[in-house]
């Protein structure tokens, strides 16, 4: 408790309330504020790590970046994980998690193959639409279960992870969709490039831009953050919490559905084991990218850079001659490092603010 202070305060003299509380409006110009904000952002530091990894790997072997193949791989390899990370980020921002994305992706990947085999002549765009729809429906199931049963999304989506995978397994069995089963136009999508930038990368960057813009500038976009920051307060504010949570899962499911199609276009073969374990990579990308695992803060930009970093590191380490075991450990260290950094930063900020109050009170 504060020591007794004289309650009568001469107006205008001594410590006024504003001096006391140390939270005055900043005096920086808008441009400088933007720059400091950017410099301090988590996204920028992850981006610097990404650049550093790329430079080191390229210095060791310049084909890492400066060859047609190297450049293509650098851009196209992360694009699928990036899409999953964008969906996952939206879900994590609402203080939930979606573990079923790998299974959804497998379902729609196999669905893509089946559509081409069973419905020859179906336009490619229709296949995309159907897979997006399928993913969205599976996401809707997740969302409804999370929103209406008071069960943590970790448990719900762990359940649907197995259920959706089970559906793929019983549907596909040991069957395998091969490149020969699909039209060459579709397969070309996976390899085509535009101004040296692969189409897959362009698709994922467009999705990223749209989702990022929505989260930043739409009323409902901001509500995802509010819900993740304090779900009880969100109810008190009269926000439609259930609807937002369902939306987040539908978005995550639809993006996983899209990833299923793109996967098929890129690799040409689909078995029932597609995408197992990728959900954890998506969560890892989100966490590394600075989205708080308990929701409320972070951006899809960060999650996207996190996905890029994960894939790039995985590609760089072998060329640096690092053993397989250590490659996985590096990812682990990155995740732990990101979380420890978060804790340290928020603790420091809190104690700084508390100190400021103690001194002045």
């Amino acid at each position: 408790m504060t020591p007794p202070t004289e309650v009568t305060h001469a107006d205008g003299s001594g410590a006024t309330a504003s001096e006391v509380l140390l939270v005055q409006p900043s005096t920086l110009s808008p441009a400088r504020r933007t720059i400091t904000g950017l410099l301090r952002s988590r996204e920028l530091s992850i981006f610097m790590v990404l650049i550093a990894v790329t430079i080191v790997a390229t210095a060791k072997n310049e084909n890492f970046l400066f060859s047609a193949d190297g450049w293509r791989n650098f851009l196209v390899n992360p694009s699928l994980l990036l899409l999953l990370a964008v969906g996952q980020a939206v879900v994590v921002i609402t203080r939930n998690v979606d573990l079923s994305v790998g299974s959804i992706m497998a379902l729609t990947a196999y669905l893509t193959g089946r559509l081409f085999i069973d419905q020859p002549g179906l336009p490619i765009i229709a296949v995309f639409a159907l897979c997006l729809l399928a993913g969205a429906l599976l996401g809707l199931v997740n969302g409804l279960l999370v929103a209406y049963f008071n069960v943590p999304s970790l448990v719900i989506t762990l359940g649907t992870l197995y259920i959706y995978r089970g559906i793929v397994l019983s549907w596909a069995g040991s069957d395998r969709v091969n490149a020969g089963d699909m039209p060459s136009d579709f397969l070309a999508l996976g390899n085509k490039a535009f101004l040296t930038i692969p189409v897959l990368t362009i698709i994922s960057l467009v999705v990223l831009a749209v989702v990022g813009y929505y989260l930043h500038t739409a009323r409902t976009g901001r509500e995802f953050y509010a819900i993740g920051s304090d779900p009880d307060a969100a109810v008190l504010y009269g926000l439609d919490v259930r609807r937002r949570i369902i939306t987040a899962f539908v978005l995550s499911g639809a993006l996983a559905g899209l990833v299923g199609v793109l996967y098929t276009a890129r690799y040409g073969t689909v078995s029932s084991g597609v995408g197992s374990g990728i959900e954890l990579q998506a969560v890892a990308a989100v966490v590394i990218g600075g989205v708080a695992i308990f929701g409320g803060s972070g951006t899809v930009w960060g999650a996207a850079i996190g996905a890029f970093l994960l894939v790039t590191i995985n590609r760089a380490l072998p060329s640096l001659g690092i053993e397989d075991f250590w490659q996985r450990a590096v990812v682990g260290v990155l995740i732990l490092g990101a979380i420890v950094l978060d804790r340290v930063l928020s603790k420091r900020q809190e104690s700084k603010l508390a100190d400021a109050r103690e001194l002045s009170a």
């Binding site: 408790m1 007794p4 309330a17 500038t217 009269g238 929701g295 409320g296 009170a361």
Partner: protein
Amino acid sequence: MTQITEGTPVLELRDVSKSFGPVQALAAGSLRVHAGSIHALVGENGAGKSTLVKIVAGVHRRDSGVFELGGEPVDFGSTSDSKAAGVAVIYQEPTLFPDLSVTENIFMGRQLVGAGRRIDRAAMYAEAAALFGRLGVDLDPRRLARGLSIADQQIIEIAKAISLQARLLIMDEPTAALSGIEVERLFAVTRTLRDEGRALVFISHRFDEVFALCDTVSVMRDGAYIATVPTAATTESQIVSQMVGREVAELFPKTAAEVGEVVLEVDGLNSPGVFHDVSFTVRRGEIVGLAGLVGAGRSEIARAIFGVDGYDSGSVRLSGKAIPRGRPRAAIDAGMAFVPEDRRAQGLVTDASVSHNVASVIRGALARVGLLTGSAENRAAGPWAGRLEVKTNALDMTARTMSGGNQQKVVLAKWLATEPELLIIDEPTRGIDVGTKAEVHRILSELAGQGLGILMISSELPEVLGMADRVLVVCEGRITADLSRDEATPDAVMHAATRHEEEFAS
């Protein structure tokens, strides 16, 4: 002072009642608040103030009575209804989004949008800055809400209320967690709002604040309206006597017990920001009441003595033996028992059976070779449950399904099975119906008669006065009075409980 009682009141409540099951929280609540007035609402804990506020805020629906806002009858089904009608409630601890900026906290859900339904951040920052300017506070609209002091969080709530065009603001004990300077700033803001012609209701236990800020004061007692007077025409002691003005009912079967040697010795206990320099003793056979207002630090003192919470300096001795701090197990082994306030959350395993619960603290002694058998538990639980007349069909009935009174008895049985020398009991009869209350009181009285020292925390003044041999009054973390049974009158306790901090400063 007279002009404020004319015209149509902003808020009018007449004979509003509300019951929760068998408990009548509000019998006849009345309140009339005018525009341009700061209206104090005072009353003891449990007088029905909070229920009244929650009815106005739309949290609860009244059972009967008149409820008008600006002369129009209203009936709120939810908090958003009351918000839409221009009612804002500032709670003691606001709920904000810590990860969002101050401005987003003000505008969440109704952000200003520009072309293409884009959020117009610049306009919102400007609006927030204008709001803070109007309130005369300097807050950065861009900073995150995380780490803001409670005072600043309240300011944000107030800014939100103004931007919602609230005409009635209710502040429920807003100053309880504020420092002196912060209180001054809040008062300045409150006066600004009054001068803008809004109606304000200010709930506080601190009379100096009521007199400094408010023009009118309404007193409630036992769920009913007592009186409304201009603050200029009344005094603190008049208000106190209106608050407590009742006879201590002879509900309490307190039997004189032989007071023996000292059991508990607390010396100079300190925990910065929580309690200060707490020293007292409890003797064998004595019931010591720990009185004071909610939030005065009574439960915290009890928790520190039992070792649940730590403390910085001071000592606790039980029958002459020092009790190490921060180790409840050591306190239990030394013969202390603690029945916490929230018995469902902290005192009972509600999904477990009566005998499980009773045996849980002594399971070490019951276990054979580390294994615990149901029959051993039942053997141990049986006599205690019987003595306390726990009304259950069987000892394997789960605690969840029992009434509040019976749950309390199970918690008591659990601790008595440890054969303690000192019993600390926090709010022994909260949420218990009147009949069972008397039974709990009888049990406590009997236990004291058998030589147990009892430290009883209670917010119900009649209970303290009726049961305790000695009353310690806690105010803002300090013991401000040590009254014998004869000295302990409602007025004396209430005065000591509301004494404000400058009185200790000298």
